[in-house]
């Protein structure tokens, strides 16, 4: 082992930390929990008052299969829902589109029209659960469908709680599931923010996501810096629309990765809260403390899991989950051991949920707020993460902001470089990964994995065609024309999209209509 030790992000770690390493002014840099700058957490008593929400991401097959999984998870004690959509839904294609061939229901649930959304939430009272939806490019359409389901259940929009991921900037930066070019995509997001602020006040309009940036290969520092830079870009876009910062900022939330480098992750969450609150107050002039508070969801790192000896992933996930909790997360998804092989089996997802329950009820980590505060190492590392992020903000500003950085490939290059560097370290055994480049077992027993029935694709294709055959086509045509006109003008797109989904226009039809105005996007790939 090399004498120099580094975090996963390449920050040096000394053998011993002492008081002089941790330069913190308590009132300025930490403050009380639940008070500015929120380094220690956003609530005064954190998990003593309310545990984090255990929210397992789920979705596969048709709405029927996923609805069954939702009911199963709620029976097992899960406290919120999180919906995974399939690739065609994420990319704005109907299940019978040529682009969807072979992809329907494989990585998430297939949703083509309001009919699917009704089935997806059948028997689930939308006034009582909170639902997170991982949907980005077409978020405005799926949000409209969700609100239409609430209407049909007789639930007032003011009671509806949940989160849209809707973070398009990180799509261009990392996850690469976009539909329209960046500028109209930003407009759709601001349309949703404006609408939700008025009509759906408990809805979190954007979950600004570092998770995918990290999974694409970034370091923890890059995840922190790029995610916050995206957050600031949304704040600036909202303010440019003329919205009061305090009218929408309290509904912005975040989503971070919990990777395997335990202390670095904890420092990352603490630094994130401090940076956000300082900027929101000092730079953007927010006055409502809720605008200063960074609330976030955490998911353990899929990219830290190994296909080799998959049961060992349970242990990795448990450490990562603990980092998320010690970092003060508001909700948590723990990955299942088999997610590197397929979507999780019921057994695997149950163990993942139990991992959180053990953490919450047996380990005692939830009993006191920010228990690592005052650790010389943690405070020093929190400071260093903050300083490294500030350095990135300077570089992004020099480039002309986030959109300019995307266009010139800055983020994509930084991430690709970090991913390659990491892979070389693993290949050279400078980083040991149990089961992959060390402690290898030559003859492993495979574990059972979930298989998606290929016949579901045909079922879904027939279902969307049946919806098209049964609906009032003239009403659909009128609604789509209204969407087109709104897209071409600067009126808010939410109301006409709501009308279109109520008339059972499909997602693909609405996307195609908007594409005639907005065009499409292709990145210059760098590697």
């Amino acid at each position: 082992m090399a004498e120099r030790r580094e975090t996963l992000s390449g920050l040096e770690v000394k053998p011993v930390y002492r008081p002089q390493d941790a330069q913190v002014d308590h009132d300025r840099d930490l403050g009380e929990p639940g008070a500015y700058p929120y380094t220690r957490g956003i609530h005064p008593r954190m998990y003593r008052d309310r545990l984090w929400t255990m929210r397992q991401f789920a979705g596969f097959g048709t709405a029927r299969e996923t609805n069954e999984r939702f009911h199963y998870l709620l029976r097992q004690g899960q406290t919120g829902l999180s919906t995974a959509f399939d690739m065609p839904t994420l990319m704005g294609y109907d299940s019978d589109d040529a682009h969807s061939l072979g992809e329907v229901g494989r990585e998430g649930v297939a949703v083509d029209s309001l009919r699917d959304m009704e089935r997806l939430f059948e028997g689930i009272p939308l006034g009582e659960v909170s639902t997170s939806m991982t949907i980005n490019g077409p978020a405005i359409i799926l949000f409209a469908m969700y609100l239409a389901v609430a209407e049909r259940q007789g639930v007032s929009w003011s009671q509806v709680r949940g989160t849209l991921q809707a973070d398009i900037l990180k799509e261009y930066i990392a996850q690469k599931e976009w539909i329209f070019p960046p500028e109209p995509s930003m407009r759709l997001i601001v349309d949703m923010m404006e609408f939700a602020t008025r009509e759906v006040p408990q809805w979190n309009t954007i979950s600004i996501s570092g998770y995918h940036i990290r999974e694409a290969g970034s370091t923890a520092v890059q995840e922190l810096a790029f995610t916050l830079a995206d957050g600031f870009a949304y704040v600036e876009a909202g303010m440019a629309r003329g919205l009061e910062v305090d009218a929408f900022a309290p509904r912005l939330s975040f989503f971070f990765n919990a990777h395997i480098d335990f202390f670095e992750e904890i420092a990352k969450y603490r630094a994130a809260r401090r940076i956000w609150s300082r900027r929101m107050r000092e730079k953007y002039g927010a006055k409502n403390p809720r605008s200063w508070m960074m609330r976030f969801h955490t998911q353990t790192a899929g990219c830290s899991l190994t296909a080799q000896q998959p049961e060992v992933n349970i242990i990795r996930t448990a450490y990562e989950a603990m980092a998320g909790v010690l970092g003060g997360t508001q909700s948590l998804h723990t990955n299942s051991m088999d997610e590197v092989l397929s979507l999780p089996t019921e057994k695997a997802v149950t163990i993942a949920l139990r991992t959180q329950q053990v953490l919450a009820h047996e380990t005692g980590v939830a009993d006191t707020v920010d228990p690592l505060a005052g650790s010389y190492f943690i405070e020093e590392l929190t400071n260093r993460m903050e300083a490294a992020a500030e350095e990135y903000f300077r570089r992004i500003d020099e480039l002309g902001g986030v959109l300019a950085g995307i266009e010139n490939g800055f983020f994509q290059r930084e991430i690709a470089d970090a991913a390659y560097r990491y892979q070389l370290e693993v290949d050279r055994k400078e980083r040991l990964i149990v089961g992959v480049n060390s402690f290898v077992e030559p003859d492993e027993e495979p574990i059972p994995t979930l298989r998606i029935n290929p016949a579901l694709e045909e079922t879904q294709v027939k279902a969307v065609q049946a919806v098209r055959a049964e609906r009032d086509q003239a009403a659909v045509d009128r609604a789509l024309e209204a969407v087109r006109q709104a897209a071409a003008s600067d009126t808010n797109l939410m109301p006409p999209i709501l009308d279109a989904v109520r008339a059972y226009a499909t997602e693909g039809e609405i996307v195609r209509t908007m594409r005639t105005v907005f065009g499409s996007y292709r990145e210059a790939a760098v590697f």
Partner: protein
């Protein structure tokens, strides 16, 4: 041996790295593309969201020896056979096709039976992919 084939024997191995289908997981594709390039090969990366038709067209235009397909969406059983079929239609049976991504072993066996020369799963060392690419392209 003619002059042409001499020149061909010494030209760098040309590899097309393709991302068929809709998934945007390009970390692996880019790491592999870069490792092959650093090993002295000429690498063309198609970028994301390509149809099998677009990939085969690019392989033809770029006159590649090897096509590497990266798929993490579970659509490999549909997309890979389609690429193999289109290559055959173009008379490009000599182009070697490798697959990387999340492919269950039983599916991998079927893809190999259909003509894929290798399926690389998570945790594969880049050096192994480089070695394999070199040997299969030379063997072509």
């Amino acid at each position: 041996m003619t002059e042409t084939s001499d020149a061909e024997a010494t030209r760098p191995i040309r590899v097309l790295v393709g991302k068929p289908g809709l998934d945007g997981h390009d970390r692996g594709a880019k790491v592999v593309a870069r490792a092959l390039r650093d090993a002295g090969m000429e690498v063309i990366y198609t970028g994301l969201h390509q149809t099998p038709e677009e990939i085969v067209e690019a392989a033809l235009q770029e006159d590649v020896d090897v096509v590497g397909l990266s798929i993490l969406s579970g659509a490999h059983n549909t997309l890979v056979p389609r690429v193999l079929e289109l290559l055959r239609q173009q008379g490009m049976e000599d182009v070697r096709v490798m697959v990387g991504g999340i492919v269950p072993e039983e599916d991998a066996a079927e893809l190999r039976r259909l003509g894929v020369v290798a399926v690389f799963g998570p945790g594969t060392e880049t050096e192994e992919i480089v070695r394999f690419t070199r040997s299969c392209a030379r063997g072509a």
